[in-house]
């Protein structure tokens, strides 16, 4: 029989060994990251051409895809996700390209020109390049423009048969005519639509006709075509630089160069493989292990630090047209009062929120002062600072309340309205998985407590309360684009994105005008007139532009951050393996 001492010694030895293994396996912490890795530092000043260089033939690029693919038909509302659109950028030709600096330029591979030939009625002449063809050799023509118009206008195919993500712009087209064997396309609108450059991502009408059974525009033809594209297991067509070679459901999508690609820059990569990784926290390990080469995950301080420590990897954080904001629900009994809203927004300290959320990994983060334009855009004016909102000025907030008849109760802890009723608790809703929003909510809670307003933090699994209106205060982000006429729906009375039920007839008028201005300067004037009124009404408080992240293995060149909704795939044909070692 063994002695007790020996047994104890054995146990201690095993415990010590296990602890040593555990301590040896622990990770060391890294230093604070910058906004861009050293080799990509020029991306801040030159977002459109940083990481440029000659490529050599060959190579496979492995890119993350954070969403499952439900359908390749990204015009469909349920399939209209950023990740799917990124992959389809390699197949779908569009007349215009949105570059990293938000500028919109003609896609000169596809188009000779696109000219606004008449302002009223609005008429645009598109000239398609003679050599622009689909991968089966069929020319890209006016027929493809007509198909895009017909299935997305909400009239020729109803929402039950064609539940598209958007009809705006297509719904006011009155006719399309063609000449020059379909290579010249004249599009006429019944109303002015200033964002015409955003339209006409093209699907092959020839394939649509096959899906429709021969006559695309016969009754039910468009519905059959829509269903055909929706049910494609893997598109066999392409009108852009790449074509799909393989798709393994929920695993990966492989693109290879389109042999019939007509553009000036021929793809040099052998393959681009999009790997589906649903948990973005796994992407840094995958990058480190060489299982992916590109990630565009949502950044946080830990993730950026981890990527910054990786050898042979560059990264960049850029501010784009996606912006974080706090919205108030004007259906709330207390928030219906403008003075209370103004006081709340005045007490919120945006600089403090930024300092404790994004600033540690995004040094140029700053308060955003416009609801439509981003810094750097020609229409950007500061409409928030003059109102004093977002300054964290508790004294001024109290003055606003006192002037409106609000008082603190006997305990001094609760705010009472002019009738003497205690202002009720306000729920502050935020998505529970977003730590930055949780921190922002906690800061707002502390800031408003100084006014005697009790804020109840309400973490939510998602943003569905926007639709149901079951919120008092909420923080979320708008994904912006350079195409602004659609912003009318965010702020105008009963607009589809006006979740807080804001209504101001003068603002409605200004927005309606801005949405039909073809002159950019006039549009900015009208949007800003509306914006100043909306800022004074204290409905939505802009916080900051959300940083958009990309990390890429150094062996690849010509791929860069594009913080707009176009994403890095805007120049997919240029991506390649670096010709010279870095």
């Amino acid at each position: 029989m063994r002695s007790g001492t020996k047994r104890l010694t054995g146990l201690i030895a095993i415990s010590a060994a296990a602890l040593m293994v555990a301590s040896a396996c622990s990770t060391k912490s890294g230093g604070g990251p910058g906004q861009s890795s050293f080799s990509w530092k020029d991306c801040i000043a030159h977002p459109n051409d940083c990481n440029s260089g000659p490529t050599k033939q060959g190579g496979t690029m492995l890119v993350t895809d954070e969403k499952k693919i439900t359908s390749w038909f990204v015009a469909d509302a349920a399939s209209n996700t950023y990740d799917q659109a990124q992959i389809m950028s390699g197949l779908i030709p569009s007349p215009f390209i949105v570059r990293p600096d938000s500028s919109v330029v003609l896609n000169t591979d596809l188009m000779e020109s696109a000219t606004l030939v008449s302002a009223n009625p609005q008429k645009v002449e598109y000239k398609i390049k003679q050599n622009a063809v689909w991968n089966d050799g069929t020319p890209i023509t006016a027929d493809d423009f007509t198909f895009a118009w017909k299935f997305q206008n909400g009239k020729d195919c109803n929402a039950t048969d064609c539940p598209v993500a958007g009809t705006t712009g297509y719904d006011t087209i009155s006719g399309i005519t063609s000449a020059d064997n379909g290579k010249t396309v004249d599009v006429t609108w019944s109303d002015v639509y200033p964002d015409w450059r955003a339209l006409f991502s093209l699907w092959p009408s020839k394939v649509a006709t096959q899906y429709a059974g021969g006559d695309l525009y016969a009754p039910g033809g468009l519905a059959k075509a829509y269903k055909g594209f929706l049910n494609e297991q893997m598109p066999a067509w392409s009108g852009a630089a790449y074509i799909m070679q393989d798709y393994q459901k929920d695993v990966s999508t492989t693109l290879v160069p389109n042999p019939k690609w007509y553009g000036a820059t021929k793809p040099s990569l052998d393959k681009i493989i999009y790997k589906i990784i649903l948990d973005s926290t796994q992407e840094v390990d995958a990058l480190k292990n060489g299982e992916i080469n590109v990630t565009t995950a949502q950044p946080d301080a830990d993730m950026v630090s981890a990527v910054a420590a990786l050898p042979n990897t560059s990264y960049n954080l850029s501010a784009g047209p996606t912006w974080e904001h706090i919205d108030l629900n004007l259906k709330n009994k207390w928030l219906a009062d403008k003075a209370l809203r103004q006081a709340i927004f005045t007490a919120i300290d945006r600089k403090d929120i930024i300092a404790k959320t994004v600033l540690p990994f995004f040094p140029t983060a700053a308060p955003l002062n416009n609801h439509n334009y981003m810094p750097g855009m020609s229409g950007y004016t500061d409409n928030i600072t003059p109102t004093g909102q977002g300054a964290g000025d508790i004294a001024k907030a109290k003055q606003i309340l006192e002037a409106a008849g609000y008082k603190n109760d006997a305990s001094g802890q609760k705010l009472t309205d002019p009738s003497g009723a205690v202002v009720g608790d306000l729920r502050f809703s935020y998505t529970q998985t977003n730590k930055l929003r949780e921190t922002s909510a906690e800061l707002v809670q502390a800031q408003l407590q100084q006014l005697g307003i009790t804020v109840k933090l309400t973490p939510l699994p998602d943003l569905s309360v926007l639709g149901s209106g079951d919120f008092d205060m909420i923080i979320f982000a708008w994904v912006g684009t350079p195409f602004l006429s659609g912003n009318k729906d965010l702020w105008s009375t009963n607009g589809g994105g006006n979740y807080g039920h804001y209504s101001n007839p003068t603002v409605d008028q200004d927005l309606a005008k801005a949405a039909t201005d073809t002159d950019a300067t006039q549009q900015a004037t009208d949007f800003n007139a509306a914006d100043q009124l909306m800022a004074q009404d204290a409905y939505v408080l802009p916080l900051y532009q959300k940083p958009v992240f990309i990390a890429v293995s150094n062996q690849f060149v010509n791929i860069r951050n594009n913080p707009t909704s176009a994403g890095p795939a805007y120049n997919m044909q240029e991506w390649g393996t670096r010709a010279s070692a870095q």
């Binding site: 439900t70 929402a159 598209v164 695993v251 299982e291 965010l490 994105g497």
Partner: protein, 328 residues
């Protein structure tokens, strides 16, 4: 035995229906999944499109009509629409995800059960020995380790091993590299490099519980009268262990293993997430989070079926392992 089996299977139908009704009710509680899916889009999704998608998802049906429709469709093999639509097909997708999970679960379960039986028996035979303490220590250590932690630790270690050796032996995404290497040999090496980490992380935690179970069960048998009698009759230790003690001690282990199989098929979500395996766990959690109720219902039917069949197999094995048990 056949009558018993058929009777048990028929008894399962009302249980599954009751479970489905509860899940259908839970998944019908607001928020509306279509509103959730399209909330915050800029530009906003057209109201007509939202309505069309709500109709497609049968969200405008009344509760009982909707449930009745689902049952009728399910019996006919139509498992219902998904929020994603398009190429989604719940029946096909379920089979695919089940295949992935099976791929992960079978080797992990095999490893866990074999290790648990061996160490449990060895511990029990030499109770309170250094060997027993060692197995006990590691058993409790693995039992105390959260799955997400051990899986992440294994993954980090493997990635660092790859970096240090300049190889790509260990894979951390899915069950194979993409693109896959060419040739049978390299593909097998690639497969092993991908399966070893999730198998170990899943097996270790399962092994820990099962080994304690096996040890307790074996100790009970060792101290029973019939074993004492067998020893007195002079049966060789080897024959006593294998024919008399182990056979009896495996009966409770059979129940535990059968239940573990059922739990595995519904609950490997953490391992699947960390190693990016698109199995049943991630499929289910994604559906619950998104409010895809027909996927959740289909998974419930499948896992319910596994639980029932697993328990049925356990009951049948009782009779095989213990001649005293007979089913009428």
């Amino acid at each position: 035995m056949i009558v018993f089996t058929v009777r048990r299977l028929f008894q399962a139908i009302p249980i599954l229906l009751g479970a489905a009704l509860i899940v259908y009710w839970l998944m019908s509680i607001p928020p509306d999944p279509v509103l959730k899916q399209f909330a915050g889009h800029n530009p906003p999704i057209p109201p007509a499109t939202i309505l069309a998608n709500r109709q497609r998802m049968h969200l405008l049906d009344g509760f009982w009509y909707g449930f009745g429709r689902w049952v009728a469709d399910f019996v006919r093999g139509d498992f219902g629409p998904t929020l994603g639509g398009g190429t989604d097909n719940i029946r096909k997708d379920l089979i695919t995800h089940l295949g992935v999970t099976t791929h992960l679960v079978v080797p992990a379960l095999f490893l866990a059960v074999v290790l648990a039986v061996i160490t449990g028996v060895m511990s029990a035979i030499k109770q309170y020995s250094f060997r027993d303490y060692t197995f006990t220590f590691f058993g409790f250590l693995f039992l105390a380790m959260p799955t997400f932690w051990i899986a992440q630790l294994l993954k980090d270690t493997a990635v660092n091993f790859n970096l240090a050796t300049g190889t790509h032996f260990f894979g951390t995404l899915g069950d194979r590299s993409i693109p896959q290497p060419e040739g049978f040999g390299p593909q097998m090496v690639d497969y092993i490099g991908h399966i070893v980490l999730p198998t170990i992380s899943l097996a270790l935690i399962t092994y820990a519980g099962l080994s304690r179970f096996q040890r307790a069960s074996m100790l009970e048998v060792i101290n029973s009268d019939y074993v004492r009698l067998a020893r007195a009759k002079g049966i060789t230790p080897r024959r006593l262990l294998i024919r008399h003690m182990l056979r009896t001690a495996l009966i409770p282990m059979t129940t535990a293993t059968a239940l573990t199989v059922a739990v595995f098929f519904g609950g490997t979500v953490i391992t699947e997430t960390i190693f990016n395996w698109q199995g049943l766990g991630t499929y289910t959690v994604g559906a619950i989070v998104g409010g895809d109720k027909y996927i959740v219902l289909a998974v419930l039917m499948l896992t319910g079926f596994f639980v029932i069949v697993g328990n049925l197999i356990a009951d049948i094995l009782y009779a095989v392992l213990d001649p005293r048990i007979r089913y009428e």
